[in-house]
Amino acid sequence: MSLHRKLQKWVDANLISEGQREAILAHEQGRSGNLLKHGIGYVGVFSILLGIALIVASNWQYISDSTKLSTHFLANVILAALIFIWRDDATRIVHREGAVFALWGLTLTLIALVGQVFQMGGDTFSALRFWFWITTPLVLYYARGMYITALWAIFFVVYVPWEFFTSVIEKLPDDTTKMSAGMFFSALVPIGIYLLGGWQKLILDRPAMAKTFRAIGIIWAVACASGASFIFYAPEDAFTNLEHMTTLRATAFVSLMATLALWYGLRRVAWLATRERPLTDIVCFASAMMAIPYIIVYGNDMMSMLHFIFLWLGIGYLAQTGGFDRLVNLSILVVTARLFVGFLELFGSMMMSGFGFIVIGFVLMGLLYGARVVKRKLKSEAVA
């Protein structure tokens, strides 16, 4: 719905006055004007840089190695100097942000160029790892905008756990230990990432980065918990090869208990904003649900479907309590899709699937009715 129509609806519903509507529209139109001005400016600069890059690329073979290296290095030094000069200049915030972004990217291209000139023969991941660590202080100190901080946060959350997986978990002695450690790590790290995003100092200093961390924590927990339900599909002999099933189950149980304890504790801490509580609940709930298939281990299609649906119904309920409508809609959509797939798997024929859908429909409506009754009862008790 356009802003005009939405504002008119609010005026009609007596939520805002006519004057407020005009003020909001004037503010938004001013913003749009600035956006256009800046946008055209950025496109112009980008076009010039692209042109220079294409000219350089077409003559790449004729430029000597020392010229390539020294020119690139000089460009990086100039950018670093500009960033330092503009560090406290309030009128140069946008310029500084652009320079930080350029230096961040150009450090990576300089690494690639060094690899090319000196025939290092290294792999891409090593180059990315080197680049990430040497530029992290730059990004953390200078970057303020959404794009750089969010990109850095995504890279951090993807790269650091991956590094941990490859350098620690992959080197563990047997499959059972690897699976146990991987599960424990996947269940608890999202909570850690989410809490990092909920750290007040980070929210104040780097709101975009904090928001990205919180979003990644939620996505990670929900994705891993959803994926864990597919453990039930594993053929039985997949687990007979694991030497110590007790280790896996015990780790999953400890992980579940640790998550529940964290959840209990987090519901009582004062520094988590009230608005964030349902999201904290979702992360903890999903992390707890992740452990369950590893405790049961041997299952079937039905158990997989039930785990998945229970997970997403829980997410939907928690999202509903916080007023996160889009997440509620997503959970309804996901549950519907999973039910459809589940009945095709379970019954196969259209007739049986039809009966199945009717039954599950009644079950869901019954659950809804039960939840309402419980809620009403709790409310009346609270009032009394």
Binding site: W60, L69, F73, N76, T107, F118, Q119, L138, Y141, Y142
Partner: protein
């Protein structure tokens, strides 16, 4: 704990200078290594026929045993046996074909440092710079295709 303006400035400088200083030092070390390492001319072969070209890199094996290779006065067991050589993407496919044909002799000017690490400085095909040899090879290929 309060941070003085001087400390804050120093910290800001450190954060922005770190990638510059590290990259500068790295380039300096590599340049020094290249300038001071011992140069050799070595015959090279295709390293693995299934993976001669990985992206833009030509994977080669040093044929130290070849009589035409200059041999360093070191324990041969410590010498590296393979290397990657960066080539432009648009030349990679044809170079691979040339290496597979086995009609040409590939050799390289390399440097060998004290830690027995090598860097390929230049690649030759039949003792000509590879760009020149590749151009001739392409010319011959195109001519034979027209005939």
């Amino acid at each position: 704990m309060t941070i003085s303006v001087r400390e804050k400035t120093l910290f800001a400088l450190l954060c922005v200078a770190l990638p510059i200083v590290i990259m500068g030092a790295w380039i300096g070390c590599l340049s020094y290594d290249r300038a001071t390492a011992e140069p050799y001319h070595v015959i090279v072969k295709g390293y693995d026929p299934r993976d001669l070209l990985h992206g833009k890199f030509l994977n080669v094996r040093y044929a130290w045993e070849d009589a035409r290779s200059q041999k360093p006065n070191r324990d041969m067991n410590d010498l590296p046996i393979s290397a990657k050589y960066y080539v432009p993407e648009w030349d990679a496919q044809d170079l691979e074909t040339m290496l597979r044909e086995d009609k040409n002799t590939f050799s390289a000017d390399i440097t060998l440092n004290r830690r027995n690490k090598t860097q390929i400085k230049a690649l030759y095909i039949d003792d000509k710079p590879w760009e020149e040899a590749l151009a001739t090879w392409r010319e011959n290929r195109d001519n034979s295709a027209h005939e």
